[in-house]
């Protein structure tokens, strides 16, 4: 066996192992949290309104934001006790700004008071 084949074999093997990969797209998280905040605003505004005016994709996005927040709060310390406030913080961040923080930074910042 030539010495070169071993690293190649290792590389190929590592490609086949499934790795749990979190979505690291801050833009997506910001938009999703905007949907989440928007849906709850509608909910508080009028009974039944949220159900009538929310599309499936909006609901899915909102659910994604909620899931990311829940998971972060489960594993990391968060000074912000209210997840809704945290979502509002993230939603306030301009989604299409030039320099975007990573998802991790976004979540950490949103936990601060």
């Amino acid at each position: 066996m030539k010495p070169i084949t071993l690293p190649i074999a290792c590389l190929l093997a590592s490609l086949c192992v499934p790795v749990a990969q979190a979505n690291d797209d801050p833009e997506h998280l910001i938009q999703s949290c905007q949907e989440l905040v928007g849906i709850y605003t509608k909910r508080d505004q009028q009974h039944l309104l949220a159900g009538l005016t929310t599309s499936s994709s909006e609901a899915l996005r909102a659910g994604y934001c909620r899931g990311v927040l829940d998971e972060y709060r489960r594993t990391s310390f968060c000074a912000q006790r209210d997840w809704h406030m945290q979502a509002a913080h993230i939603a306030d961040y301009p989604a299409f700004s030039e320099e975007q923080p990573s998802v991790e930074t976004l979540l950490k910042q949103s936990c601060a008071f």
């Binding site: 709850y40 909910r43 009974h47 039944l48 159900g51 009538l52 909620r66 809704h84």
Partner: protein, 239 residues
């Protein structure tokens, strides 16, 4: 001629038994067209000539007793007869068809009325009517020369005169009952269109009807309300 007007090629001839209702209706119509109309009363009474010329003859001679009477219609009257058949189907009785052909001044009122009933208020699909054709028909009817110009046929697949289809022969009666059924659901629909889903739902729960169209709306409102309510409850649960 009637067969040529009404039967598409290769379909069963009008003489078939199942078209008895249509034959009777058409005979009544032709007779109305071929007879003179008396207009006015008292001294002003005037007799208008028949709209079409028709000759009747019964075969004479031995063995002809009880044989069928033959009616001969002038082929030049084809457009007029066609229009009369369409109008009879739409308005129900030959008398109105004759009146509309004779009196241009009467047409406006009937067209307005038909527009309200058929187009503004109803789903014409439920009655087996073609919307586009009906709109053209009503537009043309007001000032068309009914002796020359053939009106479009607004009926989707059967003539109301045949007594088949959803209206069982009487379009007006069906329309009236549908209108009545819809008024049961009027408040439900009014709430719905005003975006008051809760009130619409409350009304929908009270609606008892056989009207298919109304049942469809009722079920739609109930489903929509339940979905929205479920969503609200989920949002509250996740808070």
């Amino acid at each position: 001629m009637l067969e040529r007007l009404l039967c598409p090629p290769l379909s069963a001839p009008l003489s078939q038994k199942e078209y008895g209702g249509l034959r009777i209706a058409l005979n009544t119509l032709i007779e109305a067209l071929a007879s003179a109309t008396v207009k006015g009363r008292g001294a002003l009474k005037a007799t208008l000539p028949p709209l079409i010329a028709m000759e009747r003859s019964r075969a004479d001679g031995p063995g002809a007793t009880g044989s069928r009477e033959h009616w001969y219609i002038n082929p030049a009257d084809e457009a007029l007869i066609w229009n009369a058949i369409v109008l009879q189907g739409l308005f129900g009785v030959p008398k109105i068809a004759v009146l509309l052909i004779r009196e241009r001044s009467e047409r406006h009122a009937y067209v307005d009325w038909a527009r309200q009933l058929f187009l503004d208020r109803q789903s014409v699909a439920g009655l087996g009517l073609l919307r586009q054709e009906l709109i053209i028909l009503l537009d043309r009817l007001v000032d068309a020369d009914l002796c020359q110009e053939k009106l479009p046929n607004p009926f989707a697949d059967v003539w109301p005169q045949m007594g088949l289809g959803p209206h069982k022969g009487n379009l007006l009666k069906t329309l009236a009952s549908q209108t009545a059924a819809l008024s049961v659901g009027d408040s439900m629909m009014a709430h719905y269109f005003n975006g008051e889903l809760k009130q619409a739902y409350d009304k929908a729960c009270e609606v008892v009807t056989d009207n298919a169209l109304l049942l469809k709306y009722r079920d739609l409102i109930i489903t929509e309300y339940q979905d929205a309510k479920e969503f609200d409850e989920l949002l509250d649960f996740l808070r």
